[in-house]
């Protein structure tokens, strides 16, 4: 059996109408991961702290609060010493996700998400940074 590391999914739930109306993600993004039982905190907020270890695989997905509205992650800005996320597409669809391996144990590494909302060309960036934290 291969060495098994954990996969942690981080979901960005976007209030697209709110983000477009106010031209900001501030107050219009809710981040959640599936690692709370191991110590992730601030679930459902903009400053989610995901507890990670070196070797863990991180997957970022996005969904919009209004089913008919469009939202996708355009970029993840993070210190490349810790993680280099790449964009991938689910085969047979145009739905994308981002994936990256944790390169070394972080103390607290903040990152930012750039999200495209609706048909607005300019992606919006998170104003309060979520972060990867070590145990």
């Amino acid at each position: 059996m291969k060495t098994i590391n954990k996969t942690i999914t981080i979901v960005s739930l976007i209030d697209v109408v709110g983000a477009l109306a106010n031209d900001t993600l501030n107050g219009n993004i809710y981040l959640m991961d599936n690692n709370k039982s191991n110590g992730s905190s601030d679930q459902g907020t903009e400053v989610l702290k995901t507890l990670v270890k070196e070797g863990d695989q991180l997957v970022w997905t996005v969904m919009s609060l209004e089913p008919e509205a469009y939202a996708s992650i355009k970029e993840i800005i993070i210190d490349s010493d810790y993680c280099v996320p790449e964009q991938k597409t689910y085969e047979g669809s145009d739905v994308t996700y981002w994936v990256g391996k944790v390169k070394k144990n972080p103390k607290s590494t903040p990152y930012n998400l750039k999200i495209q909302v609706g048909t607005q060309e300019q992606a919006l960036m998170t104003t309060s940074s979520p972060s990867l934290v070590g145990s």
């Binding site: 291969k2 209030d15 959640m32 459902g44 997905t61 969904m63 089913p67 047979g92």
Partner: protein
């Protein structure tokens, strides 16, 4: 004003299964934060339903609630509804083609080479899953167990945290708000992919103002292996959430005054 209210119900399925409760593993978000909803992104959402009434007290406009459950460790609901079925067939077709082309493959000389190649292919097939219903009857779900990357999940080769859980399902909505006739929930069909064909919706009697509790009945699916056969088993759980229903006199959205003709300026030329 009539309003369509969306309540997204996010569930950490694996954690809820381990803890045998939704408490602490469920997050609700609605689209009415600016209208006064409280507890967004937590398990204690109190949705503001701000109704309006005419001068004779009758309800003006209708508020509709829509609940959409989703799993944090599941494939995104924005994928086409047919994604799982299509991908499952695609994988089988690819593998059959690989087997068909084996005699022409360079480097396959001995029986051992063929055996190795067949073993390699077998490691990419994954397993079609069964599903158990509420009465314990098992049937073929017709789709493979997928990982979060939309590929077949290969047991013993990848961590269980890779599993994309079946999305949670709302099976009923009950409680105080239903008993008192404040909301009238029912399940409806829809072609919208994110709702997976079905969704729960309710209209609200905004004349019944006050804070009311309601209970979401949710089935989450645990993956068990019966022999080598992966089987999704439903686990029934409940979660209580709240509605804060208010009603104000109907007003003109432009003037914020009483309902009357719009103040259109008459310009004389």
């Amino acid at each position: 004003m009539s309003q369509e209210i969306t309540i997204i119900v996010m569930i950490d399925t694996a954690a809820a299964i381990n803890a045998n409760t939704l408490e602490g593993n469920i997050y609700l978000v609605d689209n009415l934060k600016t209208e006064g909803s409280e507890g967004e992104g937590t398990g204690q959402l109190n949705t503001a339903v701000n109704g309006a009434h005419w001068i004779d007290g009758s309800q003006s406009g209708e508020h509709l609630l829509n609940w959409l459950p989703s799993g944090i460790g599941s494939l995104p609901p924005s994928l086409p509804r047919t994604f799982h079925q299509h991908k499952s067939k695609l994988i089988d077709r690819k593998n059959l083609l690989s087997i068909k082309n084996m005699p022409q493959m360079k480097g396959l000389q001995s029986a051992e080479d063929f055996s190795k190649e067949l073993h390699r292919i077998s490691q990419t097939i994954g397993s079609t899953s069964n599903i158990k219903d509420a009465h314990g009857n098992v049937s073929d779900l017709g789709i493979k167990v997928m990982n979060i990357f939309g590929e077949p999940f290969i047991k013993d080769q990848e961590p269980s945290s890779n599993i994309s859980y079946l999305p949670p399902l709302i099976t009923n909505i009950t409680g105080e708000a239903v008993d008192k006739g404040v909301i009238f929930p029912a399940q409806y069909g829809t072609p919208i992919s994110i709702k997976d064909g079905w969704y729960w919706s309710a209209s609200v009697d905004t004349n019944k103002t006050g804070n009311y509790a309601y209970t979401l009945h949710i089935s989450i699916y645990k993956l068990s292996y019966i022999g080598e056969m992966p089987t999704w088993e439903p686990i029934k759980m409940t979660h209580e959430s709240y509605l804060n229903v208010t009603s104000a006199p109907k007003k003109n959205g432009f003037t914020h005054g009483a309902m009357a003709e719009l103040p259109i300026l008459q310009i004389s030329v």
